[in-house]
Amino acid sequence: MISFPWPAASSPGWFFLDWAMWILSAVFILWMLWDWYSIDSTFSEDVLTSSREGEIEAVSEKHDLRS
């Protein structure tokens, strides 16, 4: 084992980090669930699922070289 030249090896620091990971994970999950609910109850399903593949290509990319 290599000995590191600073005192960060203290166990309480690591176990605090362990708890912080759990708490932050819960906060992020709750935030996403809240935002998901908020968006779904504000916008209609037709608007939220209105994306179509290739829409931008249809106006910006000219593929046919024969015409």
């Binding site: 084992m1 290599i2 000995s3 590191f4 030249p5 960060a8 090896a9 166990s11 690591w14 176990f15 362990d18 708890w19 990971m21 759990w22 932050l24 994970s25 992020f28 999950i29 935030w31 996403m32 669930l33 935002d35 998901w36 968006i39 109850s41 504000t42 916008f43 209609s44 399903e45 037709d46 608007v47 939220l48 699922t49 209105s50 994306s51 179509r52 593949e53 290739g54 829409e55 931008i56 290509e57 249809a58 990319e61 000219k62 593929h63 046919d64 070289l65 024969r66």
Partner: protein, 468 residues
């Protein structure tokens, strides 16, 4: 209550993914997904075929992936849609192939994401243990890695890939610093390649071992093709995708070569073939705490970058299937503020967490590799069909790969060899997985396809293919 659903001129309001990315983001996505393979995974090739076998696998797989990158760059520069190879398969081969390709993508990336999260957790615990801390478990680090990255992806792709660019560059830098620190120009000073690799142990299992090493040799580059998933969000797909993918491939070839050289010169092949942290262990073997610390940080950053890219790609493949009704249209929702496929992201979160917390890392990696090789097999056939149906000069391409069809045939041949290599090590899983894809194909053909938008799914404004 719902917000306004029409624009000022009365047209229905439309929400789509944002085109905000450049070549550096494409590089960050591709290299970010893959670079973790230098920090763990590739070294199991040494266990299969010895250190020299791992090097042969490095270069043969490098050839395989150069073919993948060239082929992908040409096709994607014309099919610039989220879903990447899924959209390619749909337009070039047909819906059933597209459905299978999308599943390959989702499984390959979700399993890789789970493996990355396990790696991050295990590295944290290992590092704490090296500092004398015991009793720590990896669960909180795994959960935080996945949840934080899904949150980041949820909030927008630009910030996600800016973040990935920074951490991927730092992880790559850690390999370069390790390489330069061990004086590679002076064998014997720190590195001892001559002692570690001898005539007797270079190929301990002969050429069969070299073929078996291919199974893990692809870990050096697995996922570079993920750059195409960003196609719909890149400002100039015809330029950025080939540029980002090819520079990414060059970066990976350099990183893989440096990694092999340092690890093979510091660690005996028996140890190298079974450790989970080859670069971290190589840094430990130098006796320098600075290098050990640096490679600990590099390993964690590489794991995070890879998981981040995988979350991005798996969600876009899932979203694309929803958009064409291959899956319920509910998954095709785009967030009106952040412009991300937010439902697909949230849906895949518990799936990834379940695999990361329950599955064994070797099983997860094998599942990911199997899906990846099936995917590459498709790509070789796909590009031949693409060139036959739309020959050069019929549609505009952002990039034309040279020497066609040689790269396609090389790719197909190497895939067959890799399947054989996987069969040697994980024959049961290979058969089970092929059976799984066969069953879901039957389900798709006889049940799900009735819901698909038959004509509307073919969106590219291409001329009719030759012969139709």
């Amino acid at each position: 209550m719902t917000a306004a659903t029409t624009t000022a001129n009365g047209a229905p309001q439309k929400i789509s993914l944002l085109r905000v990315l450049g070549p550096a983001h494409v590089w960050a996505l591709g290299v970010g997904i893959v670079l973790v393979g230098e920090f763990t995974g590739w070294n199991f090739a040494a266990g299969k075929g010895g250190t020299l076998g791992a090097m042969i696998a490095l270069w043969v797989c490098g050839l395989l992936y150069t073919a993948v990158a060239m082929i992908d760059s040409e096709v994607t520069s014309t099919v610039a849609a989220a879903g990447g190879q899924y959209a390619q398969a749909k337009h070039i081969v047909g819906p059933l192939m597209a459905f299978n390709v999308a599943l390959y993508l989702v499984f390959a990336y979700t399993m890789l994401e789970a493996s990355d999260a396990i790696l991050v957790g295990d590295t944290m615990v290992q590092f704490a243990s090296d500092m004398g801390v015991t009793g720590l478990t990896h669960h909180s680090f795994i959960v935080f890695t996945v949840v934080f990255l899904v949150w980041l992806n949820y909030r927008g792709i630009l910030a996600t890939l800016n973040f990935n660019f920074v951490i991927t560059a730092l992880a790559f830098l850690s390999i370069v610093i390790l390489f330069l620190s061990v004086q590679p120009w002076s064998q014997g000073a720190v590195l001892k390649l001559g002692e570690m690799v001898t005539k007797e142990n270079a190929l301990p299992y002969g050429w069969l071992g070299v073929i078996a090493a291919m199974q893990f040799g692809i870990w050096y580059y697995l996922g570079i093709e993920g750059t195409t998933q960003a196609a719909e969000e890149v400002r100039s797909p015809a330029r950025s995708l080939p540029l980002g993918t090819m520079t990414g491939m060059i970066t990976l070839l350099i990183a893989a070569t440096m990694t092999w050289y340092v690890c093979a010169s510091l660690l005996p092949w028996q140890y190298l073939g079974q450790t989970v942290y080859p670069l971290y262990d190589a840094a430990k073997a130098t006796g320098s705490w600075q290098l050990q610390y640096l490679l600990f940080v590099g390993t964690v950053l590489a794991g995070v970058a890879s998981a981040n890219g995988c979350i991005n790609d798996a969600a876009r493949a899932w979203f694309s299937m929803g958009r064409d009704r291959y899956l319920p249209a509910w998954f095709a929702a785009v967030h009106p503020t952040y412009r991300t496929p937010y439902r697909a992201l949230i849906f895949l979160l518990p799936v990834a967490l379940a695999f990361a917390l329950i599955a064994d890392i070797n099983q997860a990696i094998t599942f990911s590799i199997l899906s990846g090789v099936l995917h590459y097999t498709f790509m070789s056939i796909n590009v031949i069909m693409f060139r036959n149906k739309w020959p050069l000069g019929t549609i505009r391409r952002g990039y034309v790969h040279p020497f066609h069809p040689i790269p396609a045939y090389i790719l197909l041949l190497l895939c067959i060899v890799t399947f054989f290599a996987i069969f040697l090590g994980y024959g049961t899983q290979l058969i089970a997985m092929v059976a799984f894809y066969a069953i879901v194909s039957v389900w798709f053909h006889f049940y799900r396809y009735q819901y698909v938008r038959r004509g509307a799914q073919f969106t590219m404004p291409w001329p009719k293919p030759v012969g139709y």
